[in-house]
Symmetry: C3
């Protein structure tokens, strides 16, 4: 399959942008700014790569509305000018990276319960297990080792990568991507009682994943105790994330790698949780809130909040001192308050002294 | 399989509680307080759901010894009053959620070494691999993709969910639940020497998991370098937890999601580690210690201690200032000490001044 | 297979050390200092185990250049004295722990594309899937459930443990160990646009893993957007680590469990990242830098730096106070600065007063 070729003008039309330079130049690949050469289109992913621009041999560069006029040799270059360079980059990359084709066949080395219903063009690789009453929508691909428990429903055009587990009764929408090793519907972590008398609370709810969700490798999403754990339309979840029982993740929210959300917490829509965040149970994160990396979230967060909680690492020998003192912050605080009172008293006395002095002067 | 029905009185007898209201009402389901309707029993999982009680249509509500007399319409409702509402909830949920039945058959699509010994009623799904000399106890279920390395022993009535790996020589007790993607017996992370000369230290020990342990999805437990990594009876471990080589987790301890325990550390009994905790190597966490979420534990913890270490996220623009200042806490500390000395000196001087003034007065 | 036996002198010769005591004593096992008995050699892994030495029944003990002369009964013991006790321990453990042998057979229950090329002595267990055009080098072992996507290349003498996924086009060097559940080449987490218009950026790059790398259980390494995510020769990565798209991990670097590295960040050579560290995207960690556990790394780190950022957990009731005050650190800081100014003013006044007093005195 030879790579498609497009002129820069064709690409501009495709993404709704304009050409600055030679629109007839042929493009056949997208490449990073360090690696791009003749025939490649590239883009400025981040201002800090601007230094690479001078040496860049790309045939064209995707830029935003503000053409970097001051660039060396800018007049000799070809630009594709667009409103949203990152989106244009994604669209052009899609153009040059056609989706892999699947043969729509069910491997005889897969194990499919006779009661399961597979739609048209479903591809099932070897070693896939499909339980009783499972439904799989048109065009979905089940890679090797995928497990669909009894009663699972998976929508159309999904990609379930190798070793994905979807346990009994869970539901997956359309165009959902589950990366390798994802576990959907494991038991929530719930016990009653203490010590030797502790008993497991049955986890009889399900997980429901709506359309256009993508979930990263080895992420785990627990089934609800009762009812549903819900991942709403368009949410994107990174690798190694933990979503506990009865959590709701809102539409179009983004959860970066290694973040954990404890039970029954509700994440609003278009929320962004950076990596390694921890959110306690039974709270709400408001719509469009954004939480910085490594933050701990102990209570509900209002819509639109921008919170941070990460401690930046410091030189070890300095940090040791800080860590020794931090538990004494309350003492330091009260020491300062005490000092304030003393200084106020001294100032008062000193002022009285001055006045007194004046008075003494007056006494003379 | 139609849902069983019980009268509220029967449920009260089952859990050792008493009925307030109509004991003859029929219950056929357990539901959350938001979703419960006629025929459902529900319970107050958390005081913050109390607001839902007024509108709740459940046929009965599980409550503790203190009946919420002040509730609107309390006289028209049916209550199941118990000492431990959460435990009663779990018991009733168990009653209405019968365990799934397995057929006790060994799939011809599984790969079982002839030297392996399977007990009665062991269910083996397709694509399970069972190595040489493996023993599996009565009633255990091995879901698709389970791997049992050579010499592994698994006890009775266990559930090994899809894609679970138990590597060579490891031992698993009775009634153990290993959720999907769990890895037991991966090599500990041990090397000798530095740089290019670094060499891997063979990890020739095992993991031993005692009875009634439950381990969450995609959690990893490394084999010992020498000897055993041990998870003792009744311990409950959540998803994505890391247990390093030669760790011992004590009886009935609870470890929440994404927590990590470094090598050779010993966790006592009935310890609770919240989510995203990190514990360094070669230390001891005393019995019944409780550690808050996201805490770092750099040294041994005495029995019964209650520790926290999480930093609560704050508004980003404020947090930036705090983070800039935190590494200077030692300077702030010494500044305050210096101020204290100065103020004491001023107070002394001011006092001397007063005394001097008095003396000068006396001089007159 | 009976355990090999060696005299202590033979072991000394093997590791380049010297015997103190009886070189003729026979050793047949390596054991921990708590468990070692007759026939065992042990070693002092950590000074805190020194207390065990008095009661230790081992036939020999590996020690460093400084023989612990002061030990009780030291004259009756046998020592193997070496420059690097830990390395000698690893070498002797290797000697007594012969590598498991694999039969070099390809299971008929594996699924191997006819276009794949397997080298000599490659062992393929059941339920392995090998895609189109895959190449696997001599002596490599693919355990049950391993998935090699189309075009994957794996070198010689590798061990790919159960349920490992290597997605299309990725490359793995020689003598690489991938532990159970590792995912190589999952899509990077990249989207353009916002809310409902958000679109997935195709991730068309690969992961390249060089020789002698070891990667821990359930760790995930994302493929590059364009180009390569690279793990360089000799790097060792622990369990449940997240490596994002386009990251480069340098030679012989060590990354402990549950650490996460965000996109396009470059980790130098011989860097050590402890457990649960988080590193932001688009930065560089210099060669031989060492980062303490749980640290957050928000900006580039120079070579050789030694950084820490973990907060040690404290008693809960004290920590609550600290956490309430920490967001007010900026206020405390400015309060102290204000106090400093006031005290300076008071000191000036007080000094003037004294001088004024003197002057007044002089006036008299």
């Amino acid at each position: 399959m030879s790579a498609p070729r497009r002129t820069l003008s064709e690409l501009a039309e495709h993404v709704g942008g304009s050409v600055v330079g030679d629109g007839g130049v042929e493009i056949q690949r997208v490449a990073s700014i360090e690696e791009a050469g003749a025939g490649d289109i590239t883009f400025l992913a981040h201002p800090r790569y601007r230094a690479h621009l001078a040496a860049c041999q790309a045939s064209a560069i995707i830029v935003g509305p503000d053409l970097p006029e001051e660039l060396p040799g800018v007049s000799r270059r070809n630009f594709l000018r667009v409103r949203q360079p990152y989106t244009a980059f994604a669209e052009i990359l899609n153009l040059f990276s056609p989706q892999p084709q699947y043969d729509g066949r069910v491997s005889p080395q897969a194990s499919i319960d006779p009661s399961a219903v597979l739609g048209d063009d479903v591809t099932v690789f070897p070693y896939v297990y499909v339980g009783k009453g499972v439904k799989v929508g048109r065009g979905t691909v089940l890679f090797p080792g995928v497990f669909l428990g009894d009663g699972v429903e998976v929508g159309e055009e999904c990609r379930l990568h190798p070793q994905v587990t979807v346990r009994e009764g869970c539901r997956v929408g359309n165009r959902v991507i589950l990366h390798a090793g994802v576990v959907i519907g494991s038991d929530g972590f719930g016990y009653a009682g203490e010590g030797r008398e502790r008993m497991k609370i049955p986890q009889v709810g399900i997980v429901e994943i709506e359309d256009d969700v993508e979930i990263g490798a080895n992420t785990t999403i627990d089934r609800a105790t009762l009812g549903r754990t819900i991942i709403r339309r368009g949410a994107k979840i990174d690798n190694l994330v933990q979503i506990a029982h009865n959590v709701v993740v809102g539409e179009d929210s983004i959860i970066a790698a290694q973040t954990g959300i404890a039970g029954s917490t509700r994440i609003g829509r278009e929320v962004i949780l950076a990596g390694q965040v921890g959110v306690v149970n039974h709270i709400e994160i408001g719509d469009r809130a954004r939480i910085g990396p490594k933050s701990g979230i102990p209570r509900s967060v209002p819509p639109g909040a921008l919170l941070s909680g990460a401690v930046a690492a410091a030189p070890h020998h300095e940090w040791i001192k800080v860590m020794t003192l931090l538990p004494n912050l309350a003492k330091l605080w009260s020491d300062v308050r005490r000092l304030e009172r003393k200084v106020a008293e001294l100032a008062r006395r000193s002022g009285k002294g001055v006045k007194g002095h004046a008075r003494r002067k007056g006494d003379l």
